[in-house]
Subunit: 345 residues, 2 copies
DNA sequence: AACGTCGATGTAATCGATTCCACGAGGATC
DNA sequence: GATCCTCGTGGAATCGATTACATCGACGTT
């Protein structure tokens, strides 16, 4: 692979001049520039990003550590992050923690060793010493979706409180009174908050959230199945379960189906996180939709602001309820299929 | 951030000794080793991977360029790739081409600039000059899922021919005679092969695949919807559509639903790629399942073999048909729900 | 006692870029 | 005509590691 020296030799100039051409510094003669460019072309030269990074101490790379790539929500987040980063001249290295704190640490360490310019994290747990140290040491960092309280790092996330209230209103309106939740890990902010929001919203209707109706999940499908089975075995099973993420909702669907029961007749279901497939499940699932793409983009902007010396602000965007049929009663004409075109009728 | 010099100073030895300790070379005294380790600990020193890569000309990093992160099939592939790579001591940088050749080139260039040790590609098109050059220049490379004919690069993929034959047998057995396909881009091997396998399998039953029943899709949901609408508008619409990937199947489902029609009564549906959600769609979708995880792992092994100077072989694994209800008739007891437990009856 | 060997260590070159500094030529200024 | 910029350029230091080579003392062999 050709290096800058080869280009310099080919063009009959010094490496300094080649470098100047490549980084378009003003003081290079048109003639030298042309010769360098020709040499670059003929050798198929591409600057070595490793060497450049060593010298400039910038990698133009962002690290993104997400909790679970197999979760469509995070996939979409990752995609929007990469898009926005690319637009701003950065690339992204994704680390998948699979909801495991040890793996999360592995990736954070790896990214730090590679001297990424900044780190975007959706923490799996309450925060490992490693991550806290990195934040304290001044690594530009932004939390997205989930965060760690007490750390001075901007947070970009959705506030689901309003949407959860809407959901509970919807459920109450359908006559449901025994409402249960499949919670996420208590070590995560989203795990705790969604339970709290749910409890609060129930309170507004004079309803309780008994311990037996709080199932401990881990944001993975299997836990959703296990918890749902537990609910169904209760002497007085709930009428509705609210899964704190889409994978646990999938697990709940598995459990209900395995018993030969039906949603929503035997058990109603709602989920946090809306994904495309929820439109086509049997029945379509009522869900709380986050502005995922916007979150990813805002997080990148905040991080790049930090990296480039600007403040970098926290952002909170509202989530919204999308009513479908999994809690009972057809949505009336509340969600007509967007593709239906009745203009010619 | 502490460098090797700081460690050397703190331990009272030269940088060479520090480096020897870190790479556990034999000839270091126990005493020196202890002092270095203590200094490393107290400074929280971590070697700079950028500097190390520059010197050793290895990054211990694999590039993975996939066609579409939002496609669950590729997500699963990416996950297994990362897992196996990690086990072998490599990290992975993922580039998402979004089925766009220009984006694919962007990522390949970026990865090459970063001097990744090897490249895993699932090409979006017939092969850009950039990728062909890289292969010719000796960059360790392996194609996964899709490939480019005429390039001397190992290919790791699934052979769907047998499964497609099984599918056609199943459809024929259900009485379907007018079978259509939503094809992938002709520029991709999987795009072409699936059509060919389908046509061949039909031939075995004396059935034709007329041009009108070949819809041109691009592996994205929207194209599946568009093509399906076209099929439904035909004077003689097909009885079955076979989508060449899961996203186009999702689009087909959208189209059928938008018209107020039902699967499989009005139109039967089958898909290439099996994903978890297909169990819970309305109706559950009959699909061809690839051994995705095994493909990802085999691809990494082949690539690492190449990188480390061993041959690195092509691998072809069989896909298999998973019958559900989207083509008509309940699966009889052919696919009992795996969770159903009738031991106590 | 002289020599060779071996183990532990340090010095310095190197990887491929960027960038500070010095230098020479040419033009403007007085 | 001397002085001073400005512009274009090259030389060399630098980033943080790895590693070939040199050095030196201790020890074993004859």
């Amino acid at each position: 692979m050709a290096s800058i020296k080869d280009v310099a030799a080919e063009a009959g100039v010094s490496v300094a001049t080649v470098s100047r051409v490549l980084n378009d510094h003003p003081s290079v003669s048109a003639e030298a520039r042309a010769r360098v460019l020709a040499a670059v072309e003929s050798l198929g030269y591409r600057p070595n990003a490793v060497a450049r990074s060593l010298r400039t101490d910038q990698t133009h790379t962002l690290g993104l550590v997400i909790s679970d790539v197999m979760n469509p929500y995070f996939t979409e987040l990752a995609r929007s992050v990469e898009e926005e980063a690319r637009a701003l001249g950065y690339s992204v290295i994704i680390g998948n923690a699979d909801e495991r704190p040890d793996l999360q640490d592995h990736h954070v360490r790896n990214l730090l060793d590679r001297r990424i310019d900044g780190l975007l994290v959706s923490p799996t747990d309450g925060g490992s010493p490693l991550m806290l140290d990195a934040a304290r040491a001044g690594t530009p960092m932004v939390f997205v979706d989930r965060w760690i309280p007490g750390v001075d790092v901007p947070v970009v996330r959705a506030d689901g409180r309003g949407a959860v209230r809407d959901l509970v209103a919807h459920l109450h309106g359908l006559g449901h009174r025994r409402l249960a939740i499949i919670a996420g890990p208590a070590a995560t902010t989203t795990g705790r908050e969604r339970v709290e929001a749910f409890r609060e919203a129930l309170g507004a209707y004079g309803l309780e959230l008994p311990d037996a109706y709080i199932g401990q999940g881990d944001f993975q499908a299997d836990s959703g199945r296990r918890v749902t089975e537990g609910f169904l075995d209760l002497p007085e099973p709930p009428e509705v379960v609210f899964a704190a993420d889409n994978l646990m909702a999938l697990g709940a669907l598995d459990a209900v189906r395995a018993r030969g029961l039906r949603v929503p007749d035997d058990l109603a279901l709602a989920a946090f996180d809306d994904i495309r497939w929820f439109v086509h499940t049997d029945p379509p699932v009522t869900a709380i939709a986050q502005p995922t793409g916007e979150l990813g983009r805002a997080a990148v902007r905040a991080l790049v602001d930090r990296i480039e010396g600007r403040p970098g602000e926290s952002v909170t965007l509202p989530a919204r309820l999308v009513v479908r049929r999994s809690c009972g009663e057809p949505p009336a004409p509340s969600e007509p299929s967007p593709v239906t075109n009745r203009s010619q009728s």
